[in-house]
Amino acid sequence: MTFFDIRTKLLGNGLSPQPVDRILSLPRPVPYTPDISPSSQVPSVLTLGNRLLGYAPIALTGRGIAIPKPKRMLSGWLVVLSSCLIPTIVIALDVPTRFLNRSHTLLTLAGICATIGLVLYVINMVLATRIKLVEDLFGGLNKVYIAHAVTGSLALIFILAHPVLLAVRAMPLGMHYAAALFVPSMKHLATTYGILGTALLLVLMIVTMYVRLPYKLWLLTHKYLGLAFLLICLHVMFEPNDLTGNMFMRSYLIVCIVIGLAAYTYRSLLPNLFVRRYRYVIQSAKEKMPGVVEVTLKPARQALTFEAGQFIFVSFVTDGLSAEWHPFTVSSAPDADALTIDVKSLGGYTRTLTRIMPNLAGMDVLVEGAYGRFSYRNVNNSKQVWIAGGIGITPFLSMAQSLGKGAYEVDLYYTVRTEAELIDLHKLANLQTDRPNQRFRVFPFVTQKYNRYLSADLIAANTPDIATRDFLICGPTPMMQALKSQLLQQGVSKHRIHTEEFFLT
């Protein structure tokens, strides 16, 4: 497609007309882009062109796009839904008088709400364990954390509904009886456990969802959710009720409680004992651009295995930094000797880290992972478009280095605000190829320069038959949302759009 085809297409699509020189500078593969200025990080067009004309050696080290993996997100939610529906049906059907009158109906509904709330609470804690099974079920840790947030919120809603329904039921007896269900009393310890557990859960959820705390403090408050769970479990076990008269329900609730406590112990109480972690040493740390540091890690003993596109949790053990665990996407190839991560200054922790990092060579770090399912290998289509926004380039750096010997046709659109933010463009350019059945092209896009954002129109103008391609997008959430809706309008099926949210909150 020529420059003028792009221009015609853009103008023909009803986009606002632009000066010709601006249209001429719309994204093109790196070697042919005449307007990417040479700089310390961006090699000259001539250099790149020469290298590519001679087909510089390409890293054909991976296993290629070959293994189709089924979508699992649905099965994860099916497990959640069935875990809630099964006890609900059992409760509703086990005694014929469940819905006999107003009082019985309210009591039954309160019991169902309590049960669903407890089950969702347990699922929420299991999702926080980051075990492989839940990642497989939901199709990646980012989706697990979305499910974690949803189940936690729903658990709170159902648990709050429980005392309200009981209080409404008690209203005909007098408001004092209804009110007593919300006031702790030493005379009714089992009820008091429930009241305190619900109150603690309520406060912690408000803090989690609506108060902006420093990450360290937020994490501390989040840990107390285990205490709220314990109090609620004591309430379930010791409060006389009509649900546990059923053998199935009794067993179900006990199993739920055991699973919840085990999950909390595994991830929050004794993670050092149960969670597998790897010791690495910082080999080098160099600033790629202001605010982004490339950290190379060498395994002290055993190296972790990962797929291109996956991310790891890293804890830097040094003075001046708390030993928090933060997620970073691996930007090196899976078979490389060292592990490379790009740390961008986004929050308080990473700001401090990028500042002190150059002095940390030789320091020990702990690594946990790898996590995530955002990889070209998990997409059953050799024709793909990768879209990276800013630091969202990191999974694609790893993927580009591990493109295999099989057939693939991949276009990478790499959008940044300013030219200085383009990291590793040189490396990506050298990985480009144009062979029969194997094509990898890189399209850098500087929004400040073009005075517009990357859009589906621009992608369609450069990449043929986008409706038959799979899209892998990683970048800021607004960018991903905008591109997703534009691609849907362009006729791309939503099943072909895969996103990676790298803000795990």
Binding site: H104, L107, I157, V164, L173, G174, Y177, Y210, D242
Partner: protein, 61 residues
């Protein structure tokens, strides 16, 4: 965002109920059964409800 809104609405509804029950129960309504001023009908209602006898909830009777 929608999740935050949903949870916010649920918390607000809960707080309204909580305030309503506490104000009505402890400030406006006296515990009639406890004070011994309940009517026969009220006493019967309490007995039938099983609320004061948690060991034998009504449904399982």
């Amino acid at each position: 965002m929608r999740l935050k809104l949903l949870v916010g609405v649920a918390i607000a509804v809960f707080c309204v109920f909580l305030l309503f029950f506490l104000v009505e129960g402890y400030m406006l309504d006296k515990p009639r059964a406890v004070s011994g001023t309940a009517t026969q009908q009220h006493k019967k209602m309490i007995k039938d409800s099983g609320l004061l006898d948690p060991q034998s909830p009504p449904i399982m009777k």
